[in-house]
Symmetry: C2
């Protein structure tokens, strides 16, 4: 058996390993061994002809490809990426308003004391201006979690926002704005309940005033280690301030809120060729329901959108949005070109092992997680949204870099689709893990929250899994723990710094 | 009172805060308030004239500077940095063989089972190919440290070598060689006793074969999470392998070894204008004694050597070393220029507050930590040395990036000089903290191991503090804990990646 997505496709994706000579279905015999999730030629394709999946050209046949042949990264020549000139002309060409009806309209969240999106968790975040303070802060946080946090049962966690930025960097370089914006906007993530706590060293380049407004930059919120009398005083000061903040956070409680107060992120990592036909479309379906109910959903990853940018542009509601989309894509093209690489630096060996032959195929699968809703806004990395609805946040595709960017943009929950499997998670927001194939769920039963492999084997539909995911997202947003949360899994925050270090 | 380093100097550094009108010494009256560690004009300096400290031109007077004036970052125009052309012509112009005699010839270290430098600590390092595995590994390491490590009393610690590299990066970009070399060479740091343990995800770009030779890339040393049956199996597999490695490491013991088996790093951070006259020259004196006894000492920081590169070149023993020095400096010039910044992106606000007006002044102070020994080799970031003696390792100046580079080059102990104060430390090697002024020692008594402020106030000489530091370095190399080690302080490893992420 194989999966064919679009009637134009001349390749299918096999749902299990096939041996040479076996019948794949429709009378197609495997001309060689074909691994699960890889592509098989459904017709004879001549050298130079288009190889089509998702109804789009993945590439051009390097040699003649007889029907039944395994098609992989070595079979295809990469097409040119779509032009970014006049992208605004694509605006509004594919606006779909008829989205799946949401079956729930509310969730149980923590109202934001500053207005705006609500929290899905109640976390004390301790921010840092610079890596130098990390060692001290980690010792303090361990002590706070063990000795102080248990006294404040309404607070979920204490999280040190450690990162590699802050000093030894070219802080006046133009692109320093990206990491600075990320760290500044992280502070107001709704999961942190409006409480501000920043640890500074005192001599770093990223001065506190670059992160906090004047009204917040005071002794109630900021500890400068160089002003403290040694290690013990540092630890005591951090614990003392944390206890004051914990007491405030402890007064918060969950209440029923409209989905317009929910802001979540969509992300995929360790993808395979099933991702684009099972996990990602299910996420897209859930996304459409969420957007339809007034929620805000972000999707990201520049190199995984680049080859489908025209599809994205057609879904933008305004020309200015298309123009910003083009600007972000162009910036990244230049960023990669400066090191003499291009979008083909993505995919990974694992993606290829999972059947994804090139970045065009990966991109088409990746975009599927955005569903079909109109796109209301495009954000630069770590920018805050100004609108509700489906938003494209133009972050790197790297999971560990996209995560902090989306957190800075204000997501309070992330949905993470994977085909090969990654235990990726975040400390500052729950990460719902969705897999693309049954084998991964079987292998990682205690890590994968939702299995979309049942779509591949035909026992469930995209709509059914989309509804299941929609419900699970709202349950987690309302306090249910993900499997990864239960183990305390969290990756480090890797802040995107396109500027040099010194 | 003020400190004047070279007879040519037309500025001095005041050793305490002075009020306007006060006598600074030698009949110089402060024309305005001058903060401690800042420069005062010792003569009338006319607009455009050279301002000289350490006998070198820090810059040119922007306006007339009457005697007694406070000289700071706003007083000076930055001179052009020294030319890199024909740097090999400087070779051998200042070779000093008459170094201070070492008062000890041995230390108590862990002999390296693979030959080469010995360990100063006996650590189980668990390496990672990619950030994705960090969450799982951290949970396992916590459990190992709490439940397993106590059974192996000869092992000092278990350290996860987490980092932000490994996937979502342009792995085929030319400069990807820097992070890959760093992670590969870290594995053979002598403090890890030759035991190899690597956690891989399974689909990442930084495949295990890029880090390990074929003979080491096997099930005894490598765990691939995607091959494990879920979270519990991952944790159990890591603990099981760790216990085998711990049992091997536990058989190691300290023995008396010649100093030729010691390799240490010198680094400074959070410097002030005293750093170059107290802490760094003392470190230089200790370095000369160590080199004289056959040890290997690395110093680093490209932007903090750039303006004194001709002084460094004169101390190189071979023309090829000078040529490599020029190559490394030129690479960094271009790296900074690509973002339209230059070496003036260093210093920091704290450096300036501490009296360092510009990068020339910072560089002259920074170089002082290299003492006066001949330079036998220049290394690219994270390269392994091939020679014994004083080595320039051309890493970024950022403390948190220099640290992992020097660890990858094989240091087993770092000496860290600071003026403003930073609690920086490393998990993989002890970091001896040395301060430049008494006030910092008073403030951070429980963090600073050695105070060189006594040189500023005249109660001790550079030689006396150099000998004290030499002894302390050997004590720590032989097992004595630094103050920071006692608290378990450690910064994250920030791997230098000059290539793009994707």
């Amino acid at each position: 058996m194989y999966v064919k997505v679009n009637e134009r496709d001349n390749v299918g994706v096999v749902i299990k390993d096939y041996k040479k000579g076996e019948d794949i279905g429709d009378g197609i015999l495997a001309l060689e061994d074909i691994p699960q999730a890889h592509k098989v030629a459904l017709k004879n394709i001549r050298k130079g002809e288009e190889v089509i999946r998702y109804g789009v050209v993945l590439g051009y046949a390097i040699n003649d490809i007889p029907k039944g042949t395994w098609i992989n990264e070595f079979s295809l020549e990469l097409p040119k990426s779509p032009s970014l000139d006049d992208l605004e002309n694509e605006c509004c060409k594919n606006i779909i308003y008829n989205l799946p009806k949401p079956i729930r309209q509310t969730f149980m969240g923590f109202k934001n004391p500053n207005g705006g999106y609500a929290g899905t968790r109640n976390i004390l975040a301790i921010h840092t201006t610079v890596q130098c303070v990390t060692g001290v802060l980690n010792v303090a946080v361990k002590k706070i979690k063990e000795e102080i946090l248990p006294k404040y049962p309404n607070v979920d966690d204490v999280v040190a926002i450690n990162h590699a930025y802050g000093c030894g960097v070219a802080i006046n370089a133009l692109e320093a704005r990206v990491p600075i914006r990320t760290l500044k906007n992280l502070i107001s993530n709704p999961n942190f309940g409006g409480e501000i706590m920043v640890i500074s060293l005192g001599c770093e380049k990223l001065t506190v005033d670059k992160l906090l407004d004047e009204k917040d930059n005071n002794k109630d919120n900021v500890i400068i280690l160089q002003e403290k009398h040694g290690f013990k005083d540092m630890i005591n000061s951090i614990i003392e301030m944390a206890e004051i903040k914990l007491a405030c956070l402890n007064k918060r409680h969950r209440e029923e809120l409209p989905l317009s107060e929910l802001c979540i992120g969509m992300q995929c990592g360790g993808s395979d060729a099933f991702s684009g036909v099972s996990a990602n479309p299910s996420a897209g379906y859930a996304s459409d329901m969420l957007v339809s109910a007034g929620a805000t959903v972000m999707f990201s990853e520049v190199t995984e959108v680049r080859d489908g940018v025209h599809h994205i542009a057609k879904r933008c509601l305004e020309e200015t949005t298309c123009k910003k989309l083009a600007t972000e894509m162009r910036w990244y093209d230049n960023y990669l070109a400066s090191a003499e690489v291009d979008r083909s630096a993505n995919p990974t060996p694992g993606n290829k092992k999972g059947g994804l032959s090139n970045i065009v195929e990966k991109a088409m699968g990746s975009i599927a997680k955005s569903g079909s809703a109109p796109i209301v806004e495009v954000l630069s990395p770590a920018e805050k949204p100004t609108k509700h609805g489906l938003i494209y946040a133009a972050t790197p595709a790297s999971d560990i870099v996209c995560g902090p960017c989306q957190l800075a943009s204000g997501i309070t929950l992330q949905v993470f689709m994977t085909g090969r499997g990654t235990p990726y998670s975040l400390a500052a927001a729950p990460v719902v893990k969705v897999c693309s194939r049954n084998d991964l769920k079987l292998m990682w039963d205690d890590l994968i929250d939702i299995n979309c492999g049942e779509i591949i084997t035909g026992s469930k539909t995209i709509e059914e899994k989309g509804v299941e995911l929609f419900n699970y997202i709202l349950d987690v947003a309302s306090g249910k723990k993900t499997l990864a949360e239960g183990y305390g899994l969290a990756n480090d925050l890797c802040i995107f710094n396109p500027a040099p270090i010194t």
